[in-house]
C-alpha cells in the first residue's frame, strides 16, 4: 500500500499512523516535519507543481518499497503558505521488522529533504523573503 498526498490543508498524524497500525505489523515508524524558522520569519511559502511533485514523491515511495519489505507507505506534503509551528510533511511506514520500518522511514525523510520537488521561501514581517536552498 502506497498512499501519496499533496495538499494545502493540514493532516492528522495520529489518524495516518492508525491506518498503518491496522495492517497488523509489529512496527510503525513515522516522521512529522514541522515549520521551524528564525524569529523574524512569520511564514513560509512552499512552491510546487502538482505533476512534478506527485511524480517525485511516487518515485521516492516506489524506491523505498523496492529496498525494504514494507506493508505500507504514507507520504504527505503540504504546499502554499504555512506559519511557524504548522505541520509541513509526513512520512510513515509499517513493517514486520522494526529495523525495516526504521530504515525505510529514514530513507523516505532523507529523500523528502533532497529530492521532493518543493521549494521553500521564508517570509519576514518586513515583506522580505529568502529562498532556502541546500
Amino acid at each position: 500500500m502506497i498512499d501519496i498526498r499533496i495538499q494545502a490543508g493540514d493532516f492528522d498524524p495520529g489518524r495516518q499512523l492508525g491506518r498503518l497500525e491496522e495492517l497488523g505489523r509489529a512496527a510503525v515508524s513515522g516522521f512529522v516535519a514541522m515549520v521551524e524558522a528564525a524569529e523574524d520569519v512569520t511564514e513560509i511559502l512552499v512552491e510546487h507543481h502538482p505533476v512534478l511533485a506527485k511524480n517525485a514523491l511516487r518515485r521516492i515511495a516506489e524506491e523505498t518499497e523496492r529496498n525494504w519489505p514494507l506493508a505500507g507507505i504514507i507520504l504527505i506534503h503540504r504546499h502554499g503558505r504555512l506559519r511557524r509551528g504548522e505541520r509541513l510533511a509526513f512520512a510513515a511506514v509499517a513493517a514486520s521488522d522494526p529495523r525495516h520500518a526504521l530504515d525505510g522511514c529514514c530513507f523516505l525523510v532523507d529523500a523528502l529533504r533532497s529530492r521532493a520537488l518543493f521549494w521553500r521561501k521564508e517570509l519576514a514581517a518586513d515583506g522580505s523573503g529568502r529562498w532556502m536552498e541546500p
Partner: protein
C-alpha cells in the same frame, strides 16, 4: 525543431521574473546541461539565473532527469534550483 515549453521554479522563477516561456533551442541543444548553457548565454537576468549550472536540476515531461539526460523530442522541460522544503 518543435517549440519547447520551459517551466521555472523557486529562486530561478523569481530571478527570471516569470514562471515559464516557450523557446526554440538550436539543434546542438540535446541535454538539460546544453539547455542551461544556452539559456545562460543570454543577457541578464538569464546570465545570473544560470550562472551556476551545476545547481540547476531538470525534469522532462514531469519526470526528474539527470543533467546529461536527453531532452530530444521533449515538449515540456522544468528547470529549478536544489529542491526540498524540510
Amino acid at each position: 525543431m518543435a517549440f519547447l515549453d520551459l517551466l521555472y521554479f523557486g529562486s530561478l522563477r523569481e530571478t527570471l521574473g516569470k514562471d515559464g516561456e516557450r523557446v526554440d533551442p538550436p539543434s546542438h541543444v540535446l541535454t538539460i546541461e546544453d539547455l542551461v548553457a544556452w539559456l545562460g548565454e543570454r543577457d541578464e537576468p538569464y546570465r545570473s539565473a544560470f550562472g551556476a549550472p551545476s545547481r540547476i536540476g531538470g525534469a522532462v515531461e514531469g519526470e526528474r532527469v539527470g543533467n546529461r539526460d536527453s531532452i530530444f523530442g521533449a515538449r515540456e522541460v522544468a528547470l529549478f534550483p536544489p529542491p526540498g522544503a524540510l
